[in-house]
């Protein structure tokens, strides 16, 4: 079987990437989206992010759209155009599945696969960012800078969860042919 590593050709940095984060209150959806947006900014992209405030604490749905590329207009992802649905709650991931583009990657299966889940579920969001880092054209140092900038507590554990997620992400990319 031919194994292709994720390759970031010059083409991939010239188009808009759409990452859709979702889950319920308290799962760290907005933190994960923020880290992703900061990582993209560190990597030199124009970045826009939209988020819904306030209902997270009261158990409501939480969504955040992160878009990066050479020039972004809309802060919202159109349904059917998300490259990734990074979800921390299976129900929410399924409810919002229409946002995924044909050929995009939803993280719903990862929620059920121990190979992609960290030992400590508190670090689920950074582990998933690790997976994402293997599939999106943002250099590792941009991600690591974003992690240390955004996370005040448990940085070492988060970095470890990120690293394991990244490894799992590369393995997944290898199996599915990369981008």
């Amino acid at each position: 079987m031919m194994k292709k590593k994720s390759s970031f050709t010059s083409l991939s940095v010239n188009r808009i990437w759409n990452v859709f984060f979702c889950g319920t209150g308290g799962q760290g959806v907005l933190t994960a989206a923020e880290i992703c947006a900061v990582a993209a900014m560190n990597a030199g992209y124009h970045v826009k992010k939209s988020e819904v405030h306030g209902m997270a604490q009261r158990g409501g749905s939480v969504e955040s759209h992160v878009r990066f590329g050479p020039r972004i207009f809309s802060p919202l992802i159109k349904p059917g155009t998300a490259d990734f649905i990074v979800c921390f709650h299976e129900g929410e991931g399924n409810r919002l599945a229409a946002y995924l583009r044909k050929g995009g990657t939803t993280f719903v299966p990862f929620l059920k696969d121990p190979a992609f889940l960290p030992q400590d579920r508190r670090f689920l969001n950074t582990a998933f960012l690790g997976i994402l880092s293997a599939l999106a054209p943002i250099a590792e140092e941009s991600w690591l800078a974003a992690l240390s900038q955004q996370l005040k507590r448990s940085l070492v554990e988060n970095q470890a969860a990120f690293a394991l997620g990244r490894k799992a992400g590369f393995a997944y990319a290898g199996r599915t042919g990369g981008r």
Binding site: H46, K49, E51, H53, M55, G59, G60, P75, L76
Partner: protein, 577 residues
């Protein structure tokens, strides 16, 4: 606004944060606001700059007046609120247009199309022509950062307050913005000028003439300012637009021509006409009310516009094609999870008592408004800040024997409840008001308020005693009770409802997001449980109904408040040993 990959300090800022950053760099001195989604973060960010005098004001009218006072005294000042908050400040705003300013004064107002968290979808752009004020409308955080600096310059150049209008999507979305350093603005000297600042009829008449001239000068600026931009694309199709729809149109119709309005009032009539002549097909796209659309048509210009069904709700990227075709908006049912009171919320205790007593509840604005949601369904009116006490009085004038209760929070009471209470006493009304004192302004994110004795920067200050205020207002009975004492609360409510008196009950217990202490979850006896479902009527997120109607307690969510224990008639839920 391209962000180049060169050396410049970039920050990922929301529209709110960008306004704060830009205002700070423009030498802002004083900033006043009352919390209100989606504008709250403006003052929260400004409070982080030590050279800005930032405050949570008691309400928006106070905020506006304090900030305007500072501007007149010679320091650049800013007011921020949501759209309905501006309604509270309309009195000073309308006449501030007459007095003008001294140092720059900008009123930042955030509309909420789509109702992320509001009582209505009013379109604040109407205030521009109504108050005869210039209106600036950024379409992104990067624009908000640049436009706010321009707003202060315009305010000083034309001696006018400036209305700076955003929407939730612009206020809360984030973008990387190249930021800079603060330019300290020298204080402008205050010169006594009674005809300018004292609006008695003779002075106001003269000022009205000044305002009309000022509008003409602002209209001339509107024609030349780069804030109103023609982007020449195809001659086949052109859009006139402002705010966030511009971004969606740019992606849906990248080849079209655009007239993007950023200085949206007064209008740039000549530029609009010039643009109309550049394109064969002209379409006006705006969110909420057909303001630009009707103005363009009033100039005799033929332009297509969205179907009226799109005046309701937020415009989304996927709407652009439907709008262009003139199609009706398809209303899709919302599938999102509903927000509910947190596990352990003290409000739930109060509403379970009110529900049990079949009270009619005149409610107010706060987390407790969620008590209106089924199955709790124990809040029956909610209009605007402070309207609990006053609508309670209105009801009782028609239904003097009804079990009507006015319910509001601590911050809401200080904002605009006190006047209603004085009115009830003065106009000899009897009844019951319950003030839910959870020691915070919760729904907007847990801000400080006068009843807590802590400022926006958490500095200690005099603490307003709610019960002392109620007594001073003349209430016949004022009780302070911990709502967790359920049977005591129930007895007191019954007693006060039956009394020929105006009573206030202050139900005092901290918000669960302030006091995060949790007690162990209850014990559940499946055999004793008769699946009556009374516990589920409390709508606690920690109680999950199993397929056969029994109870599953989510240990991660349960706060150990034991309201379900006190509600269970069968002893199936018990406090843990």
């Amino acid at each position: 606004m391209e962000n180049k990959r060169i050396s410049s300090v970039q920050e990922l800022l929301s529209g709110d944060e960008a306004v704060a950053r830009g205002a700070w760099e423009a030498g802002l001195r004083v900033a006043c606001a009352y919390p209100g989604t989606p504008s709250t973060e403006i003052l929260e960010t400004l409070a982080g700059f030590k050279d800005v005098d930032a405050q949570w004001s008691v309400n928006e009218k106070v905020a506006f007046e304090v900030a305007l006072g500072s501007a007149i005294a010679g320091g650049r000042s800013l007011y921020a609120s949501k759209h309905v908050g501006l309604n509270v400040a309309m009195d000073p705003l309308m006449t501030a247009s007459y007095t003008g300013v001294n140092a720059g004064f900008v009123a930042v107002v955030c509309d909420d199309p789509g109702l992320a968290s509001s009582q209505n979808e009013q379109d604040t752009r109407w205030v521009g022509p109504y108050a005869k004020l210039p209106v600036l409308e950024p379409a992104s955080p990067a624009e908000a950062y640049l436009f706010i600096k321009e707003a202060f310059a315009i305010s000083e150049r034309f001696d006018t307050p400036v209305l700076f209008r955003m929407t939730t999507r612009v206020a809360h979305s984030k973008e990387n913005v190249a930021v800079g350093a603060r330019q300290d603005s020298a204080l402008k000297p205050f010169a006594v000028n009674i005809p300018k600042y004292v609006m008695v009829p003779r002075n106001a008449y003269q000022k009205h003439m000044v305002i009309e001239k000022r509008l003409l000068a602002l209209a001339a600026l509107s024609e030349t300012t780069p804030l109103n931009k023609i982007e020449k694309g195809s001659a086949k199709l052109g859009f006139i637009t402002s705010g966030i729809p511009y971004q969606y149109l740019k992606e849906a119709y990248p080849d079209a021509s655009f007239l993007k309005l950023g200085f949206t009032y007064p209008y740039c009539d000549k530029k609009i006409a010039r643009f109309a002549h550049m394109v064969r097909e002209l379409v006006v796209v705006e969110e909420l009310d057909p303001i630009i659309q009707e103005h363009v048509r009033s100039l005799g210009i033929k332009a297509r516009a969205k179907h009226p069904t799109f005046r309701i709700g937020e415009l989304l990227p996927e709407h652009m094609a439907q709008i262009y075709k003139g199609a009706k908006k398809k209303e899709l049912p919302s599938t999102a999870r509903k927000p509910v009171l947190c596990p352990g919320c003290p409000h739930r205790f109060v509403f379970s008592v009110l529900k049990r007593n079949k009270a009619i509840v005149a409610g107010d604005i706060g987390c407790y408004t969620l008590a209106a949601t089924p199955p709790l369904s124990t809040l029956h009116t909610c209009l605007c800040m402070g309207s609990s006490i006053t609508i309670h009085e209105g009801f009782r004038r028609i239904m003097p024997n009804g079990k009507i209760v006015g319910v509001l929070g601590d911050s809401t009471f200080v904002h605009s409840g006190i006047t209603g209470l004085i009115n009830a006493v003065y106009n000899r009304m009897k009844g019951l008001i319950i003030i839910l004192d959870n020691s915070t302004t919760a729904m907007t994110g847990g801000q400080n308020n006068p009843a807590m004795g802590r400022t926006i920067r958490n500095e200690p200050t005099k603490q307003l005693s709610i019960e002392a205020v109620c007594t001073a207002c003349g209430a016949d009975n004022v009780d302070v009770i911990d709502p967790k004492n359920l049977s005591q609360l129930d007895a007191l409510v019954k007693q006060r409802l039956a009394a020929d008196a105006l009573s206030v009950i202050v139900a005092r217990r901290p918000c669960k997001l302030v006091d995060r202490n949790r007690l162990p979850m209850p014990d559940y006896d499946r055999i004793k449980c008769k699946t009556c479902g009374l516990c589920f009527n409390l709508d606690c997120p920690a109680l999950v109904k199993t397929e056969d109607g029994h109870v599953d307690i989510n240990a991660a969510l349960c706060a150990g408040c034991y309201l379900c224990v006190d509600t269970c008639p069968s002893d199936a839920l018990k406090r843990p040993a």
